[in-house]
Symmetry: C2
């Protein structure tokens, strides 16, 4: 089983509100359809220009304050339901039964880290031949009242539970660079090397952190999976190559 993260910057142009790259998502679905159902997948997607600007506008990460933060919590989730529905439709067009599971319905966080997760439906969906489709979302938080549960946090939780063969992050760049811009693509990283890197920035708004955070996630993920790939989701076949195990991109290994 593999976990695929479709980054928010892949499925939308983060500088444009409610922008959705249907053609890109359809092509990603098509690539997965070459391997499914022999290979099982869980797909997690980010908020892109649907969730992030609203989460920021309403200050969700500042926690529960007043009616306005409750209003923003609902509105942000509704935007994510809209986005995940679009993603699911792109998958259906490629005969992939991607089934949306609302992250906010199954996870409870503490300062954004998942402390309770109910994965029964994710497990059932896989067993019944579906592709569970989760997404970065709002969350009820035992410390702050409300928070954001990021796609990366969800992937970490899923990896602990399901021990996937590999985890593949689809990004809008070719992988991890030693410096950005102008640096060199790091093709293979050992977890032990992960201390002294200068890492790239990311355009647009990203309330859930950038590449530095991603490498921390990769480091933690490497405890539960054999390979963590970072490849360009905007370029055809990179995902397929990562699934096979030989892609232009970055692979992080234990």
């Amino acid at each position: 089983m593999m976990v695929i993260k479709i980054g928010g910057s892949v499925l939308s142009d983060k500088t444009r509100k409610f922008h959705f790259r249907a053609e890109v998502v359809k092509r990603i679905a098509y690539e997965l359809s070459r391997f499914f159902p022999e290979e099982k997948f869980i797909v997690v997607h980010g908020g892109g220009s649907f969730g992030h600007p609203l989460a920021q506008k309403f200050g969700i990460r500042e926690g529960l304050r007043d009616y306005s933060s409750r209003h923003g919590f609902v509105v942000t989730h509704l935007a994510m339901l809209d986005l995940t529905s679009r993603v699911a439709k792109c998958f259906l067009e490629n005969s992939l039964p991607a089934f949306p599971i609302s992250s906010s319905s199954i996870f409870i966080t503490e300062n954004g880290r998942i402390v309770k997760g109910s994965l029964e439906v994710v497990r059932e969906a896989i067993e019944k031949g579906f592709i569970p489709l989760l997404f970065g979302d709002v969350s009820f938080d035992v410390r702050k009242g409300i928070e954001i549960v990021s796609g990366d946090e969800i992937i970490l939780h899923l990896a602990k539970e399901f021990k996937p063969e590999k985890v593949i992050f689809l990004m809008d760049v070719d992988g991890i660079y030693d410096r950005y811009p102008g640096g060199q693509l790091l093709k293979e990283i050992r977890v032990s090397d992960l201390e002294n890197l200068e890492v790239q920035g990311s355009a647009g708004i990203d309330v859930t952190g950038g590449i530095r955070k991603k490498l921390e996630v990769a480091k933690e993920l490497a405890r539960y999976t054999q390979e963590v790939w970072f490849v360009n989701g905007l370029i055809k076949d990179r995902l397929s190559e990562a699934i096979i195990g030989n892609a232009l991109g970055t692979v992080v290994m234990p």
Copy 2:
């Protein structure tokens, strides 16, 4: 705390595909806003002309068979996400933070009856000052692979867990009649009377059963709540009157 069921025939004209009565739902939300947040609510809505025709078209209740049933399962859920998003927006317009919780993400059924339910998020939502918004939905089923979890089944499960003060069903008729059409409205029913009733039919498609099923549900509900109301959701103030406890309609009591 009260549980409110917005029947599918209230929020849509079941004879018209993807029909949504926004004005009716807004007025229902407005009535709840007179009592919230002093009174807490959980709202559950039916599938109306969004979920039912698709569930029927794809034969979801026949269980998991082939790719087509998986496709139908996803498509039916997507229609319900669309519907529940519309309901949530009508609530937001009346300053009610109704938060959609995907029934299929938290319930697993056996022949359509809930056998596993994860209610942590429902509980958190209430505690944090939200109105949990659930809906009849598709479900993974331990016996049939896939099934439908009806709004009524969800209400039964919620009532067992939360022991609400009352449960109010909003319908497209004034309540329960001893015969229909042409019969008399039954204003008060004792559970012990519930054996010998001739009950009314319902127009349009209703894959999850009609009024007879509702009375069976009322009978079971009466073990966990003091009053089960059936009132006309299409007529102004009936809901408010049921909340207060003096409405034109039917009340079922233990």
